[in-house]
Symmetry: C2
Subunit: 202 residues, 2 copies
DNA sequence: CGTGATTTGTACCGAGCGGTAGAGTGAACG
DNA sequence: CGTTCACTCTACCGCTCGGTACAAATCACG
């Protein structure tokens, strides 16, 4: 029943990570509460008992899917922070985010937001989990920019934490826009403007 | 049954706009799908048949509540656009939005986003309605900034539409942050940075 | 004060929800 | 080649959902 390696018996007819990705898409498009078990199982290509034997519950399935999402998609955006300068890191972060929000490989927007900004009271910790994921990304940004501040790599008087929040905010707003159908070019034009705020006035 | 003035009969025991505001709060906090009829009726202080006699359905109730929200809360932010310069209009828009997103008078964040970014397929037009509301605000911003462009009131080479999108995006991102508990000061510090993008470099 | 119109409260409807029981199925091992 | 064991499938569970029927309650008006 658990994910331990089993000894014998009938082998599983599906790949766990594949069906997780399919589940993530459904949550992404319809939100946690809007994703019914019927929609999930049919998208995953498995039936209910298999889902419950493998993942335990709808909520645990969601957490697994979200974790995987975070480790793949979000990690990608975080890699942008390794750029040598603060400006380059911010630009890479915003540009790769804008691209990811509008790629055809998965639903538009961001699972961390569409998954459930507001939930019924009994699912409140779903929104909290998503918020914690976003906060972790913002913290990563802040740490990168704090380092930049020490290196004299930020405009004078610019606070690393506030700048991290600004960048993260913009990216979240882009996710909202993308979910509503904004194009990649629309988002990149908005990034162009945001970057003006980061340049040192001469 | 309709909202026409009735001639006689037992008078209504509640005020329509008051219960609409209560309903809006529930939708705001829990989203359209997360707001159950039981939660709605108990917050509104009326019972189911009264709700249905007055508003027709959950969806129509939501639309009425959202319209009222738009005509009151959102109209407030739009008033900021009447400032004499583009910079002042943008600043007023962002600052008053940040305040509204974090006031204690109603739930944090923005009904246009928390109401339902992602819905189950049968409620898809709820998200579309919300998106249309946000798009209308963005269009208002764009029109104000187009006028500014004609008046030479925008930085050189700045596109009014892209700038409107940038400002709206930031405000939406702030709504996401506010829904997750960000403080007013946090949002205003992000506005400070955003405004740097709008100033003309000297 | 009785009559008609309307709202109110209770109690209920079918449908779909998340979740599960239990028999059937099939690969791996002796 | 038969036993074992995990997985798969159909059919179902209790519950809550959005929505409603119906009768009691309460006003305006003659």
């Amino acid at each position: 029943m658990r994910t331990e390696t089993h000894t014998t018996g009938r082998p599983r007819a599906f790949d766990e990570e594949t069906v997780l990705d399919r589940a993530a898409e459904v949550f992404w498009r319809h939100g946690y509460e809007g994703a019914s078990l019927s929609a999930l199982t049919s998208a995953m290509g498995i039936n209910r008992p298999s889902l419950y034997a493998t993942f335990g519950s709808k909520e645990l399935l969601f957490r697994r899917a979200f974790t995987r999402y975070h480790e793949t998609k979000v990690a990608n955006a975080r890699a942008a922070l390794e750029q040598p300068t603060a400006y380059a890191a911010i630009e890479a972060f915003l540009r790769s985010s804008a691209d990811a929000l509008t790629t055809g490989d998965h639903p538009p927007g961001c699972l961390s937001i569409q998954g459930g900004l507001a939930c019924s009271p009994e699912n409140a910790h779903i929104s909290e989990t998503l918020a914690a994921g976003r906060a972790a990304t913002e913290t990563a940004l802040e740490e990168r920019l704090s380092r930049a501040a020490k290196e004299g790599d930020l405009p004078d008087g610019m606070d690393a934490r506030a700048l991290a929040r600004f960048v993260m905010t913009l990216s979240e707003g882009h996710a909202v826009h993308a979910a509503a159908g904004a194009s990649r070019e629309d988002l990149q034009a908005s990034v162009d403007i945001a970057l003006r705020a980061v340049t040192v006035p001469h």
